[in-house]
C-alpha cells in the first residue's frame, strides 16, 4: 500500500506537515501543539475539547480570518494558522 500524501501548513510561522486533508486539530495535535488560545477571562491556555464544533475552545486564526474552529476545518497546503491570540472579533 502506498504512503498517504502529506500537506504542509504554516503554524505561527513554522511549517507543520500532516496527512493531506485531515482536520486542522489533527495536524496541530499530531505536532504536539495543544494550547491553541488563551481564555479571555482567566488568561489560561486552552486546547481542543469537544472536536465537533460545540465548545469553541479550538478557535484559531486561519489565513487572517479570526475565530475559526480548527476541528471543523480541513487543512489545505500553505494554509497559515495563528495560535498566538489575534484579537477576537466577537
Amino acid at each position: 500500500m502506498t504512503a498517504p500524501r502529506s500537506a504542509t501548513i504554516i503554524v505561527d510561522g513554522r511549517p507543520v506537515t500532516a496527512v493531506a486533508g485531515v482536520s486542522l486539530t489533527a495536524a496541530l495535535v499530531g505536532d504536539h501543539r495543544w494550547a491553541l488560545r488563551r481564555n479571555p477571562v482567566d488568561g489560561g491556555p486552552r486546547g481542543p475539547f469537544c472536536g465537533m464544533g460545540v465548545c469553541f475552545e479550538c478557535e484559531v486564526t486561519v489565513d487572517g480570518v479570526p475565530s475559526v474552529r480548527a476541528c471543523l476545518t480541513r487543512i489545505r497546503p500553505g494554509m497559515r494558522v495563528d495560535t498566538t491570540g489575534a484579537p477576537n472579533d466577537r
Binding site: W34, R46, C50, C55, F56, R90
Partner: protein
C-alpha cells in the same frame, strides 16, 4: 436571498440524511444544512480522503447514505451554520462557509441537530489534553491521529469502549478506563440485550479486545482531578461513592471524559417547540409523536435531538418523519407494511437503548454523586471562567438568574458544555433558554443581513 423549499433539513447525520433522501426520492424539493465541511454528522463523519485511501473508511455505510442523498437531488449546503430565526418565526437564519448570510424557509422543517457529549467539571478539566472521548474517536477514525501516547478514558457509558479500541488500533497505550458505574457484571439486566444479539456482540467484541490488550477497567471510579502545566500530565481518580478521596493517580498525556450524550435542542426550543424532561435522563427533549412531529405542525424533530437512541434509531426516526411528510403532501399514506416495518424497528431499538441505559448510572444519579463533591474553587463554566462556588452562592433554583449574575453559560458555547453541571449546582431547570444567536455569528454576517433588508 431566501431559499424556499418543500422541506429544509437541519443536520446531515444519520437521521437527517435518511429523511432527506426519502423525501427527495419522492420528488419534493429538499435542502439539507450542516455546519461541518462535509455531510455525515458525528456518527458518519467522513474520514479525510487520504486517510480513507490508506487506512479505509470505518463507516462505509455513511458514505453510501450520503451518495444516495446526492443522487436523489437533495441540495446539500455544508459549512452552513444555522444561528437564528427571523421575526416571522419560520425563516431560518444561517451563514455560509464564507460568512455570507443565508435565509431558508421550508413548508416543513426537519430538525436533526444531533447530540453532544455530556461533560462534568473537575479541577484541571480546562487543561489542554483533557477532551471528550468523541474528540479522541474523530482523531483516530477520521484523521488516523492518536490523541496522545498514554491515554486515560473516564466518565460513563458504552461509548468509552469503542473509543478505547480505536486508540488501541493506533498503537496508543490506554492506561485505563474509569467507569463511574458498575455495568460490567453478569446480571439479569444484561440478558435483555440477547434480543439484539448483533449489538450485544458488538459490545462484547470491544470488551474482548480491551481484555486482550490488558486495559484496566476501573468500575465505580470518577476523575478527582487532572494535573499539568500547559498540558495534562496526570489524572487522579476517586471512588464514585466517595468522589472526594483519591484512590489512584495515573500518568497520562491525554484524558478523555464523557458521560454519554445530550440532545441538541436549541433550535427546536427557539422555534417554540414544546419540550419535556426525558424520563430516563432528565434532559430536555422536544415533545414528538412517533413520526417526529413536534408541537408545531410544521416542525419535526428526529434523531438524537429527539432523545438519545443511537444511529440505527436515528435512521428509523428519519424514515418515519419522511413518511409522515409524504403522506401529508400527497394525501396518500405510505404502504402500511412499510410503515409497520419502520415502527417495529424503532420500538425494538428503543427497547435496546433502555436496557443499555439501565446498565449505567442515570444523569440524575451522577449529579447526586458528583455535585456535592465538587470543590467550590473548581471552574464550572469554561468559557467565562466561573467557579462552582460562585454558582452555589446562587442556588435559588434558577439557571437564568445564575447566568445573569455569574455569566455562566454566556460564552461562545452557550452553556452546552457546562449546562448539565450548572443545573446541578443551582438545583434548577435542565437547560439554559434558547436565544438568538444560538451560535456565535460573525459581525460581518449580521451587517450584510441588515444591508439586504435595507435601511430601517
Amino acid at each position: 436571498m431566501i431559499v424556499e423549499r418543500d422541506v429544509v433539513v437541519v443536520g446531515g447525520g444519520p437521521a437527517g440524511l435518511t429523511a432527506a433522501a426519502r423525501l427527495a426520492a419522492a420528488g419534493l424539493t429538499v435542502t439539507i444544512l450542516d455546519e461541518q465541511p462535509e455531510l455525515g454528522g458525528q456518527y458518519y463523519r467522513r474520514p479525510a480522503p487520504e486517510v480513507a485511501r490508506r487506512w479505509g473508511d470505518h463507516r462505509r455505510e455513511g458514505g453510501e447514505l450520503i451518495a444516495g442523498v446526492r443522487a436523489a437531488g437533495v441540495e446539500c449546503r455544508t459549512g452552513h451554520l444555522v444561528w437564528g430565526l427571523a421575526d416571522d418565526d419560520r425563516t431560518l437564519l444561517a451563514e455560509d462557509e464564507a460568512g455570507r448570510p443565508v435565509r431558508l424557509r421550508g413548508r416543513h422543517l426537519v430538525l436533526a441537530t444531533g447530540a453532544y457529549e455530556r461533560s462534568f467539571p473537575f479541577p484541571g478539566w480546562q487543561l489542554p489534553g483533557v477532551t471528550t472521548p468523541g474528540f479522541a474517536q474523530h482523531l483516530a477514525a477520521g484523521d488516523h491521529t492518536p490523541i496522545g501516547e498514554r491515554v486515560v478514558l473516564a466518565g460513563s457509558g458504552p461509548f468509552l469502549l469503542p473509543v478505547a479500541c480505536s486508540l488501541l488500533a493506533l498503537g496508543v497505550k490506554v492506561a485505563g478506563i474509569a467507569e463511574a458505574g458498575t455495568p460490567y457484571r453478569p446480571g439479569r439486566r444484561a440478558l435483555g440485550t440477547l434480543r439484539h444479539p448483533a449489538r450485544l456482540r458488538e459490545l462484547a467484541g470491544y470488551a474482548a479486545r480491551l481484555a486482550r490488550a490488558r486495559v484496566p477497567v476501573w468500575q465505580g471510579a470518577v476523575v478527582l482531578r487532572a494535573d499539568g502545566h500547559d498540558r495534562v500530565s496526570s489524572v487522579t481518580l476517586a471512588a464514585a461513592g466517595r468522589p472526594g478521596q483519591a484512590i489512584r493517580t495515573v500518568e497520562a498525556d491525554a484524558l478523555c471524559v464523557g458521560y454519554g450524550f445530550r440532545p441538541q435542542t436549541d433550535l427546536a426550543r427557539l422555534l417554540g417547540c414544546e419540550v419535556t424532561a426525558d424520563p430516563g435522563t432528565g434532559d430536555a427533549i422536544p415533545v414528538t409523536d412517533p413520526a417526529g412531529r413536534s408541537s408545531r405542525p410544521d416542525v419535526y424533530v428526529i434523531g438524537e435531538a429527539a432523545g438519545i437512541g443511537g444511529a440505527p434509531t436515528a435512521r428509523a426516526r428519519g424514515l418515519a418523519a419522511a413518511h409522515d411528510i409524504l403522506a401529508r403532501e400527497t394525501g396518500h399514506p405510505v404502504p402500511p407494511a412499510e410503515a409497520r416495518r419502520v415502527a417495529t424497528a424503532a420500538r425494538r431499538l428503543g427497547h435496546f437503548t433502555a436496557l443499555t441505559d439501565a446498565l449505567y448510572p442515570s444523569p440524575a444519579q451522577l449529579l447526586d454523586a458528583l455535585v456535592p463533591a465538587l470543590a467550590d474553587s473548581t471552574m464550572a463554566c469554561r468559557c467565562e471562567s466561573v467557579t462552582a462556588g460562585e454558582l452555589r452562592a446562587d442556588a435559588a433554583g434558577d439557571v437564568n438568574a445564575a447566568k445573569a449574575r455569574t455569566r455562566a453559560g454566556m460564552g461562545p458555547c452557550q452553556g452546552r458544555v457546562c449546562g448539565f453541571a450548572v443545573a446541578g449546582l443551582v438545583r434548577g431547570g435542565a437547560v439554559f433558554p434558547s436565544r438568538v444567536p444560538i451560535r456565535p455569528v460573525r459581525m460581518t454576517t449580521l451587517l450584510e443581513l441588515a444591508a439586504e433588508d435595507g435601511p430601517a
